[in-house]
Amino acid sequence: MANIKNPETKTKAQSMGMHTEVLTGRTQQKFFNPDEAENFYYFGTYDVDFNKRTDLDVKDMTAPEANKEIDNLMSQGYGTIVIKNPQGKHSLGVGILNKLNLIFEGSLGYFGMGSCDGPTVRINGRVGWSCAENLMAGKVVIGKNAGSCFGAAVRGGDLICKGSVGARTGIDMKGGTIIVGGDAGAFTGFMMQRGRIIILGDVGINLGDSMYDGTIFIGGKIGSYGSDAVDAELTKNDQDWLKRKLKVAEIGENFDVSKMKKIVAGKKLWNYDNLEPHEKKGAI
C-alpha cells in the first residue's frame, strides 16, 4: 500500500481531541477480524439472479399478502420482479433486505418501500407520504411526484424523485442522498442530522430548519432559511460529486451545478445538552 506513514507528530484530528474523547457506555466495542472472507450479502439472505424475471399482479391482494409474495419470489431466486396494478396501495415493498430489481407499474400509497436495505426500485407513477422511510441502502427512483415526508429518517442509499415533492422532505434524515428533479415544499431537511439533499428546482420556506448536520444543495429559489441553516462555499469536490450523482440519478445531466447553493448547519443548536439550561431559564 502506497503512502503509508506512522506519524509521530499530532495530526489535526488528534489536536482537536477526536482520538481521545471518551463516550464510555454509549457504544459497544467490536474488533475487526482480518481473516474475514469477501462476502457481499448479509448472512442468510436469498441468492437471487437479476436475469431471472417475473411479474406479480397485486390487484386482488392486500399489502401484507403482496409483500409476502415478493419474499416468496426472492426465495425462488427471482432477481427482477415487476409489480402490476399496485393501485395506490399503502406499505407496499417494505422491509426488503436483499439485492433485488423491483419495478412498480403504477403508483403507491403511503409508506411505500419503507425500511429497505439493498434493492433497486423503480416506480413508474407517484408515491404518497413517507416514501422509502428509514431506507438503509439501495436506490429508489420515482418517475412522477411524491407526497410529504419524502425520505423521512433515511439512513443510507439514494432516493430519487424526478418530479416535485411535498413538505418536510428528508425530515430527520441520518444519511444517504435525496435527489429531487422538480420543486420541494416547506421545511425541507427539517431536523436533518446527516446525509445530503439535492433539489434542482425551488424550495419553500424554512429550508433546513433546526438541522443538526448534513448538506443541502439547491438549484432554484429558496423561500426562506430555517433556524440554524447557513450558506457554505461550494467546493470543486462538491461539484464533481454533484455531477456524478445527477448522472447516476438520470436527471439534470446538463444542469449547471456550479450555480447551486450549498446550505449547512450553523451548529448553534448542535449541543442540546448545553442549550437545555438556557431554554429552561427562558421558559421560567
Binding site: E21, V22, K30, F31, F32, N39, F40, W241, V264
Partner: protein, 137 residues
C-alpha cells in the same frame, strides 16, 4: 456532635471533557463556543478515484452505480485507535494494529468501507446470533 462528612471514593474514571482553549478548535467551534465531538468529518464526500477493487466488485454485485450507503462511512477513532462505526451492531469496530493505514483520509475512508462490508456480511456478525434467537417469521 457534628456529623463527619464522608466522601465515597469513586473508582470510576471521570470522563475527559474537552474545554475550549485546550485543543485546536475549528473556526465553527470558536464561533459557537463549544467542541464538536465528531470523530470524523461527516460531510466529507468520497473521492471515487480512491475506490478499492473489492468495493468495485461489491457495487457491481449489488447492481448499483456508486458507493450508495457507503458514502456515509468514514474512518473514525475509538480510544485513540482507528475504528469504523457499524450502524447494525450500534458499535465501533476497531481496526487491528496489524492493518497499516495510509495517511490520507480519503484512502482511509475507502479501507473503512471495505472492512465494514466484510464485517457486516460475515456469518460471525453479532446480528446473526440475535436473528437466530429472536426471528419471528
Amino acid at each position: 456532635m457534628a456529623k463527619k462528612k464522608t466522601k465515597a471514593k469513586s473508582k470510576v474514571k471521570k470522563e475527559k471533557k474537552l474545554k475550549l482553549g485546550t485543543f485546536k478548535e475549528t473556526a465553527r467551534e470558536k464561533l459557537i463556543g463549544q467542541h464538536i465531538g465528531y470523530r470524523y468529518d461527516v460531510n466529507l464526500l468520497p473521492d471515487y478515484k480512491k475506490i478499492t477493487p473489492f468495493l468495485k466488485k461489491y457495487i457491481e454485485a449489488m447492481g448499483w452505480d456508486d458507493l450508495n450507503w457507503l458514502e456515509d462511512i468514514h474512518m473514525g477513532y475509538e480510544e485513540d485507535r482507528p475504528a469504523v462505526f457499524c450502524r447494525n451492531a450500534n458499535g465501533w469496530v476497531t481496526i487491528p494494529k496489524s492493518i497499516k493505514l495510509p495517511d490520507n483520509q480519503q484512502d482511509r475512508d475507502m479501507i473503512a468501507r471495505e472492512l465494514l462490508v466484510k464485517f457486516q456480511m460475515s456469518p460471525k456478525h453479532p446480528l446473526v446470533d440475535l436473528k437466530k434467537a429472536y426471528l419471528k417469521f
